[in-house]
């Protein structure tokens, strides 16, 4: 099977193992342009590993990954041009660095894939950073140190960093985990804007919250395999009430079954 022209991500028989322990076994997944896909699963199901393998952050033990039709290989020149088309939003900002950095400086890193490492930032870069900060509702915090922001605002800084690169594909790892309701809404709005502009989204989530209405397809990962693929049901019961704040402790082995039909 050759991927069609609008295949954004194509994983074929992907397998990943950590120290010989299989985490992903024979996963195949194709994402086409304009799709909004949620990868759901319990803690330890392999859902984060799936997107890390797609981005080349963990090596494949078997199978293949293509991004925009280009095979994923370490230090591939052909692939280098594709990275500018991808915006990655990690789960959280790393352990925090020793030196302060402003929100605008962190978001400015998102321009590097597009600009290259040798060219100094110009007017287009500054405009993209401002637009991305406006999209996530942090325009007034541009000059503040990231460390002074709340967890939710830091998460929005990371999505702004990805948006600043004007990507075609957004890959998000648990974007709403531990994020306050206000930031979740801001996040959903920013994502909605990206999707209405024709963007493709692959996101990993434990639960969808306000993002549920945006999802076009759900993929459930269970014990390293894709256990289910399908649409998203409407939230039912008190989950459907406006302003519903979904707060309950999650234990290991807690599965978001019922989110996907």
């Amino acid at each position: 099977m050759t991927p069609s022209n609008d295949s954004v991500i194509s994983v074929r028989h992907g397998a990943v193992a950590y120290d010989g322990r299989p985490v992903l076994r024979d996963v195949s997944l194709t994402v086409t342009a304009g799709e909004v896909i949620a990868v759901l699963g319990a803690n330890g199901s392999g859902k984060s590993t799936l997107i890390r393998a797609i981005l080349g952050l963990v090596p494949l033990a078997g199978g293949s990954v293509e991004l925009f039709g280009t095979p994923l290989r370490p230090r591939s020149r052909a692939l280098r041009r594709q990275w500018a088309r991808i915006g990655y939003v990690p789960q959280r900002l790393g352990a925090g660095s020793g030196v302060p950095a402003t929100v605008a400086e962190v978001v400015g890193s998102g321009r590097l894939a597009r600009r290259g490492i040798l060219r100094p930032p110009g007017a287009a870069d500054r405009e993209a950073v401002t637009a991305a900060l406006r999209a996530v509702g942090l325009a007034d915090r541009a000059a503040d140190p990231v460390a002074t922001l709340s967890g939710g605002q830091q998460q929005r800084t990371l999505i702004a960093r990805a948006l600043a690169g004007q990507p075609e594909l957004l890959v998000l790892d648990e974007p709403t985990a531990g994020v306050d309701a206000n930031s979740q809404e801001a996040f959903a709005d920013a994502l909605r804007g990206f999707i209405s502009g024709g963007g493709t989204v692959l996101l990993v989530a434990h639960e969808l919250g306000p993002l549920a209405s945006l999802i076009s397809r759900c993929v459930v990962v269970h014990e390293g395999r894709i256990a289910h693929e399908g649409g998203v049901p409407r939230p039912a019961g008190h989950h459907a009430e406006p302003g519903h704040d979904h707060v309950h402790p999650h234990g290991p082995g807690d599965e978001p079954v019922g989110l996907c039909s």
Partner: protein
């Protein structure tokens, strides 16, 4: 000023200023990556390079650059693997470096305690004009690289995985940082000595970041503080006749303490006046996104 009527004092001043400007420009990335002590480790390894140079009757500066660059690259490759044994490997490298250096210096025919001390604690006043040219040229190369590649180096030090997904040549940039660390250590060994060079990379950054809010401002302020510490260090060391390297480092640490006390006092005075920072989260987010 009578102090600077001697050529050797002028050379010491120029060398110290150039190093005072360069070391924090590199150090800001090392601190950001939480590798504050890497300069110290590379300094230990550089001593073996000095020993090799003295033994072979070559310029110790050149052999020190080569050996410490190899050491820095080895440290970086160990770090990249991210194994816990990296900690032990680093210890082996550090102590092997200094022990090997002391032995090799002892074996060379122009060995003397004074010679060893000059490399361990610096001796900028014995810098020849040729040495000074090497110091200035190498420092300028490091400085230009640190300033020109700031966005990319900031990205890899701040979030290495994100930088990788941005398609940045992460490994090449990491190795560049390793090699520039080795170069900076080696040129600075004439000024502050191998055992104190790390202080000049790290202390001005630590001082600056108590006052600054962003990365660029921290880098600029640290470079200014490094310049100030080394300039005033040359003057003070010449006036009261103390070791130059130690004087510069003591001044840098005094600046750190002064700023720390001032910043703590300012925080204590301000705290009651600041309202709870709840307002920021209440703003309705504007959502306009153009791709």
């Amino acid at each position: 000023m009578s102090l600077f009527q001697y050529d050797f004092m002028i050379r010491a001043l120029v060398g110290a200023l150039v190093i005072g400007l360069t070391a924090p420009a590199l150090g800001v990335y090392l601190v950001q990556r939480r590798l504050s002590l890497i300069g110290d480790g590379v300094g230990h390894v550089a001593l073996t390079g000095v020993g090799v140079g003295l033994l072979l009757d070559r310029s110790p500066v050149i052999t020190a650059v080569i050996v410490s660059a190899l050491g820095a690259v080895a440290i970086e490759l160990i770090r990249e693997r991210g194994r816990t044994s990296g900690d032990l490997a680093l210890a082996l490298l550090f102590y092997g470096g200094i022990a090997g250096g002391v032995m090799l210096v002892g074996l060379s025919h122009n060995s003397s305690n004074a010679n060893l001390m000059a490399y361990l604690f610096g001796s900028l006043t014995t810098t020849s004009p040729a040495d000074l040219v090497v110091i200035v040229v190498l420092a300028l190369v490091v400085l230009v690289a640190m300033i020109a590649l700031r966005p990319a180096l900031f990205a890899i030090c701040h979030d290495e995985e994100y930088a990788r997904v941005s398609g940045l040549p992460v490994r090449a940039l990491n190795l560049l940082l390793a090699v520039t660390t080795a170069v900076t250590v080696t040129i600075a060994m004439r000024a502050v000595g191998l055992l104190l060079i790390s202080a000049l990379m790290v202390v001005p950054v630590a001082t600056a970041q108590q006052l600054t809010r962003g990365f660029l401002s921290t880098m600029a302020a640290a470079m200014g503080l490094g310049l100030l510490a080394s300039g005033s260090g040359v003057w003070l060391a010449g006036t009261v006749n103390t070791a130059l390297g130690a004087t510069i480092v003591v001044l840098a640490i005094a600046m750190f303490l002064a700023v720390a006390v001032a910043a703590a006092a300012r925080r204590a005075l301000r705290r009651p006046a600041v309202p709870a920072p709840a307002a920021a989260e209440v703003h309705p987010p504007e959502v306009v996104l153009e791709r």
